[in-house]
Symmetry: C2
Subunit: 350 residues, 2 copies
């Protein structure tokens, strides 16, 4: 029987949704970090069945995902939609695999750990086969808040987002690209991924609308931050806005803390976090933007200043590569943690 | 002696900064609204002295602004920088003119009314020659808040902006246009108006930085909202962000009210305002965006919903044409109010 749990032998790994933006980024990161892979399976839809993708100098065919695909697989990195995850993840778990899922399918299920590795990794010790990785907008929020929460306590959080089109996958990137090309040709600009033209516009509408007027994206930021920070009643709110940026989510964060804060102390605390890069010097016009951080791993923080509307309030500007840290990198970090702590389940032998 | 105060005879009008984005919009609006102009003078810098601009089918030369230019002028609409306003506005006032200034030069002077016509027009009755029009980012904020404040009382306001490049005038528009053209040619993108590339990026940096970490733009929103609403201690804060949109400022507003609110009541109140258009129906994916509103007069409000982080909190999404309502239209509205209420000063006869 395959024993993936000993942390010694290479892992039989499947990437579900390998040809998407996040799938390709997963391959890149696994190669960069030299993750110990035994057999590698690339799984996709009917549409991508004739494709091949390179990994460590070798070409791998993309197979059409089906139940049997998961036989003998120890670990599935799932980068498909919530609908597809709901269909495939239980199949993989049935074959004994552990699934790290970037979709929203299982995030709010009480039995599924929702984890940003480095923020609440301890929750991984209770997994039952499926582990959820949060929305790419909430990851930088909890990364920035975690170390400050431990010192000052969180009272209220107000988030406004400036989310790139890659948050909607390859089709989002293509739509912005097409609209820019049409603009320079003087042609009419069409849209089908976003509800309105995104080129030269900003759209306060990510994902679909709920009955209460919030979008699902906004609800995710609120609910997932509460779950990851283990503060089910945390006062947090969000407006999520799509902007014509290819890669990189930016966010304004206003945080009211329980205790008085000093800017110097905040800076010192953030500096000690391995996941954070502080780019914050107004005198030198230093602050992060999406174009600066695309392709990089950290959460970048700048524009730190005291709030003018509350006594213990603090403003941040937080920017990160949503494809990388928001989705792919966290999945690989979780995988590494599972291997290191011998938390992978045992695959049914193929 | 010329008596501009009787509201009967045409006004001798000068536009200072006529060739800029706001100057040209002023001409358009004066023509559309058939403002009663006697003599029209277009004033500019040395650079624009050979230019002509059309008005009501006639071509007007642009004259280089100097002290003597203001002789016999009843009303100056000033659409130049704060530095130039500081230089020219007192000259015009010396000649008896009334100056409506869109720059920040005089806004916070206690003796100068800072007015959004329709919000605090009563302040115009105390003017002493110079009247300031607020920053284009604060106008939609106070237009949306004024009617609600009267009913529910304001406790705290949090603003994040999504400001178009036209807020930086024609050079801002040209820079985005050049960067887009360079992108489609595959060339390197240069910048000098904005601190970073604005195409495919968002930049949390409008105007220069103060010592406290806020930008001057953010300070303006805070200070000017307090002055216009006549609430000097109002708890309000702002993060101002430039986005790659040509025209139209969007903003997220989170408002904590003193009293409990109902969404229905909020909608009813906003609907009664002549300055506001409500575009708010999530079921039909109805909300305003910059591309929808460019060229229009109202302040558009959408995405109204209860806050998830406070009991009496409310979210809005506010969009307006920053060139039009934010700068030019308000100046013309103020001019019309001055004429109607016989509040123009008397020009020294030329």
């Amino acid at each position: 029987m395959a024993t993936a749990t000993n942390g010694k032998r290479p892992i039989n790994l499947a990437i579900l949704g390998a040809t998407g933006v996040v799938g390709k980024e997963l391959l890149k990161i696994l190669e960069q970090r030299n993750f110990p892979i035994g057999k590698l399976k690339l799984l996709g839809s009917e549409r991508s069945k004739d494709l091949h993708l390179p990994f460590k100098g070798k070409d791998y065919p993309v197979e059409v995902a089906e139940k049997e695909s998961f036989k003998g697989v120890d670990l599935v990195l799932s980068a498909v939609s919530a609908d597809l995850s709901k269909r495939f993840a239980p199949m993989a778990v049935d074959y004994g695999a552990t699934v790290i899922d970037k979709s929203s399918a299982f995030r709010m299920e009480p039995s599924v750990p929702l984890v940003v590795e480095g923020v609440n990794s301890h929750a991984l010790h209770n997994h039952k086969g499926i582990i959820a990785s949060p929305n790419c907008t909430v990851t930088p929020v909890v990364v920035a808040l975690k170390p400050l929460r431990d010192v000052f306590g969180l009272k209220r959080i107000v988030v406004s987002t400036y989310q790139s089109v890659s948050g909607a996958g390859s089709p989002g990137i293509e739509e912005l690209e097409d609209q820019i090309q049409a603009y320079t040709r003087g042609d009419r600009q069409k849209h089908h991924v976003f509800n309105k033209q995104i080129a030269f516009n900003v759209i306060p509408h990510c994902d679909s609308f709920n009955k209460d007027g919030y979008t699902k994206e906004e609800e995710k930021v609120i609910q997932e931050a509460r779950k990851i920070l283990e503060l089910p009643d945390l006062a947090i709110t969000c407006t999520a806005v799509r902007v014509p940026v290819m890669v990189g989510h930016s966010e304004t964060l206003l945080v009211d803390f329980e205790k008085p804060i000093s800017i110097e102390q905040v800076r010192e605390i953030l500096k000690t976090s391995e996941m954070i890069e502080l780019w914050d010097n107004p005198d030198e016009k230093l602050y992060p933007t999406a174009l600066d951080v695309a392709g990089n791993d950290p959460v970048y923080v700048g524009r730190i200043r005291k709030d003018t509307s509350s006594p213990n309030g603090l403003h941040f500007w937080v920017v990160s590569d949503n494809v990388r840290i928001g989705a792919a990198l966290n999945a690989v970090h979780i995988a590494e943690y599972l291997v290191e702590h011998k938390l992978l389940r045992q695959a049914v032998p193929s």
